[in-house]
């Protein structure tokens, strides 16, 4: 999954994988754009299963002061505040927003956590998020910073192992800064130039784990600088084009800088800075869209990537879309890739022959307005994933695995009225590597349903439910993860135009449910019932 904030990747630099742990400042979001499925032609590496682009609030559209706060069970506390100012005369604006959140998430001790940890095990997450944006005409300077501090006590099973619970700390920061501006040489052409700096650093006070005899302290700095030029042209009434070129230079830690202490109680000295591996990349893409009869649209694109580690990657895509009054049908062929990082090439004994992971996807999607208020969407797809990275049999290096296949069906029904808004969706997935060998570590059935009730302009009540079917777990001590139904509800009350109070109850039936684990933990218990009380306030 590729995660962007204001169009700049915030994926963890060492792995390129989506880092979902850091709590983003969601109260400063204007909208979230989602691209379903592989999308590397426009977005490049990591856009394998989809793209999530978080667009933060702009000074012009979010003026004034806003405050969001909540408190609740498991010592959960959150405070966010933001301020936006815009001067129309000068066309200049500024918006800043900051959030701090602390939670202990749940009770994972003893039987509550499948006896992975002692009764007294504790866990915390302390997140800080800061966004700032200055705009002057089409010029925007933006910076987004996320910091996550959490205990590492739940990363490793401590009961019956050498790992100990204690004052462990995972302390990682993500900094994105960018300058972007538009050039409009003609009314039908726009170029956007973007220069960005990304930094993902595991700070040197990180205590990665504690054993009976030692503590391990880590440091892992990484940064990247890049520049890109994206063009959009309306060539004729029917033909439009999007294209771009980009250059990037990254410095990635070859390994962790590490120091050890001589006892479980003693903090190790500050780790040394690890050697940094330099990596260069360049890419170019072009995608054309051609419309016939206002109803039929063809899209075709190509992308070329060169990287000093994995050399050349070529990625094509194509689609046919038919739009009618009440229904749309799309047939899409999409490819995407996730590039191995120097980190992957060098892990363990190293493997210099690693190839990028690739996904090729064919999808048929349709959506239909049954009535103006009732929408039905369905999607059928087949994906083939090549060169997936797995550890070799001796667990000493990464290697490319065989092909994995996925057949998926998704359907969704939405009913949208002012008083009631409801949805239900169902997804079926069938993973296999060979025709007779199903891979059951991904739940084959998931279903989500929700309803929002707004009887008047003061009250809004929402209930959402999520069902996940049984799946296999990598850990043989707990080989099957049972199916689970999790329901959340939120009731909000507008006491005045700009003040909203709410009660948020998550996992209302206190369902015991687990995520699979690839560590020595049996399985990860997910949070129990959590009750939050909060308010939002906006002063225009």
């Amino acid at each position: 999954m590729l995660l962007l904030i204001d169009g700049i990747q915030i994926n963890e630099l060492n792995s390129g994988g989506f880092y979902g742990g850091a709590q983003y400042n969601l109260d400063n979001v204007e909208r979230i754009e989602i691209v379903y499925g592989p999308a590397s032609v426009v977005y490049g590496t990591n856009a394998v299963s989809g793209v999530v682009n978080i667009i933060t609030k702009k000074p012009v559209t979010s003026q004034g002061l806003d405050v969001h706060a909540h408190t609740g069970t498991f010592n959960t506390k959150k405070i966010q505040t933001g301020y936006g100012y815009y001067n129309a005369q000068q066309d200049v604006g500024v918006r800043v927003s900051a959030q701090k959140k602390y939670t202990e998430k749940g009770n994972f001790g003893g039987s509550q956590g499948l006896f992975n940890w002692s009764d007294s095990v504790y866990n915390f997450e302390n997140d800080i998020s800061v966004d700032a944006k200055i705009t002057y005409k089409s010029l925007t300077f933006g910076t987004n910073y996320l910091q996550k501090q959490s205990s590492v006590n739940l990363y490793y099973r401590t009961v019956g192992t050498a790992f100990k619970e204690g004052e462990s700390l995972w302390n990682i920061g993500f900094l994105n800064s960018y300058i972007t501006y538009d050039i409009k040489p003609t009314a039908k052409t726009i170029f956007t130039h973007n220069t960005y700096y990304r930094n993902t650093t595991l700070y040197p006070n990180t205590i990665a784990y504690i054993t009976d005899t030692a503590q391990l302290r880590c440091f892992r700095p990484n940064y990247l600088i890049g520049t890109e030029l994206i063009g959009k042209q309306q060539i004729t009434d029917n033909l439009k084009c999007i294209n771009g070129i980009a250059l990037e230079h990254e410095n990635l830690a070859k390994t962790y800088g590490e120091t050890w202490s001589n006892s479980s109680e003693e903090t190790p000295p500050r780790p040394p800075k690890p050697p940094l591996l330099q990596n260069y990349s360049a890419n170019a893409f072009v995608q054309f869209s051609y419309t016939i009869f206002d109803q039929l649209e063809f899209t075709a694109g190509n992308r070329f990537d060169y990287n000093s580690s994995y050399k050349f990657v070529y990625t094509p895509n194509g689609s046919i879309m038919f739009h009618a009054n009440r229904y749309n049908i799309k047939l899409l062929y999409m490819e995407a890739f996730r590039a191995p990082k120097p980190w992957d090439y060098n892990w363990g004994v190293g493997n210099s022959h690693l190839q990028p992971e690739e996904i090729h996807s064919l999808e048929l999607n349709s959506n239909f307005s049954i009535t103006p208020h009732l929408l039905f969407e369905t999607s059928v797809y087949k994906n083939r994933m090549y060169n997936m990275l797995v550890k070799n049999k001796t667990n000493t290096a990464w290697t490319n695995a065989d092909t994995i296949n996925l057949i998926g069906i998704e359907t969704e029904l939405q009913y949208l009225r002012k008083v009631y808004q409801a949805y239900i969706n169902y997804t079926y997935t069938y993973f296999y590597d060979k025709p007779d060998n199903r891979i059951e570590e991904i739940a084959p059935h998931t279903c989500n349903a929700g309803i929002t009730f707004t009887p008047n302009s003061y009250i809004t009540a929402t209930i959402r439910c999520n069902y996940i079917s049984e799946k296999l777990n990598a850990n043989s001590l707990y080989p099957i993860i049972d199916d689970a139904l999790i329901c959340n509800t939120k009731i909000s009350f507008n006491s005045q135009q700009n003040i909203q109070w709410f009660v948020d109850v998550r996992n209302i039936f206190n369902t015991e449910y687990y995520h699979s684990s690839n560590r020595n933990v049996t399985a990860y218990r997910q949070p129990q019932r959590t009750i939050l009380l909060g308010l939002t306030w906006h002063l225009e």
């Binding site: 204007e30 909208r31 012009v60 559209t61 979010s62 815009y86 129309a88 005369q89 066309d91 604006g93 409009k184 003609t186 009314a187 009054n325 959506n367 307005s369 103006p372 208020h373 929408l375 949208l416 009225r417 002012k418 808004q421 707004t454 302009s457 809004t460 507008n494 135009q497 225009e540």
Partner: protein, 183 residues
Amino acid sequence: MAFRINMNSTYKYILVLFVAISLWQQTTAQTQEYVIKAVFIERFARFIEWPITSKVSDTEKPFIIGVVGINPFGSELEKLYKNQTIKNKSVIIIYILDYKQIERCDMIYISKSEQTKVPLILEYCQNKPIITISDIEKSLEMGVHIAMGMQQNKVVFAINDKAFEKSQCKVDYRLKQYATQLQ
């Protein structure tokens, strides 16, 4: 008189609207679509009369224009209304993500990002004197008051008389003269 019109200023605005359309015809290549659409929205308000019982008649309250969905205007609306008034009232632009905010507005623009939500948005305006404007394809058939579109590189607009009747707002016949049939 609920619908009394100041003829002098009305003719002035018709002239300005006409000049704007003419200028647009001549300078299409240099001008952006949404700059012109922002000007059109401002002009529409001049030719619409809200019922006397509506909050538009309350001179103490500002005139509120809402942009529903992704804002395609950039800062054009803000610049336009920095020193402009509508019905002698200051103008506030609000950018709506929560549809409940629609009820605060006197006029809304429904962005193309809300294509599948138009019937729902119109429900929030039902039986209220809120003028709805959109450039979503077929939005006039869906029930908005004024639909904008592009024909031969020009911004054109069409008026939905039935929608005006339902909302108890009245549109000046001179604005209708410049309206067209969207293809």
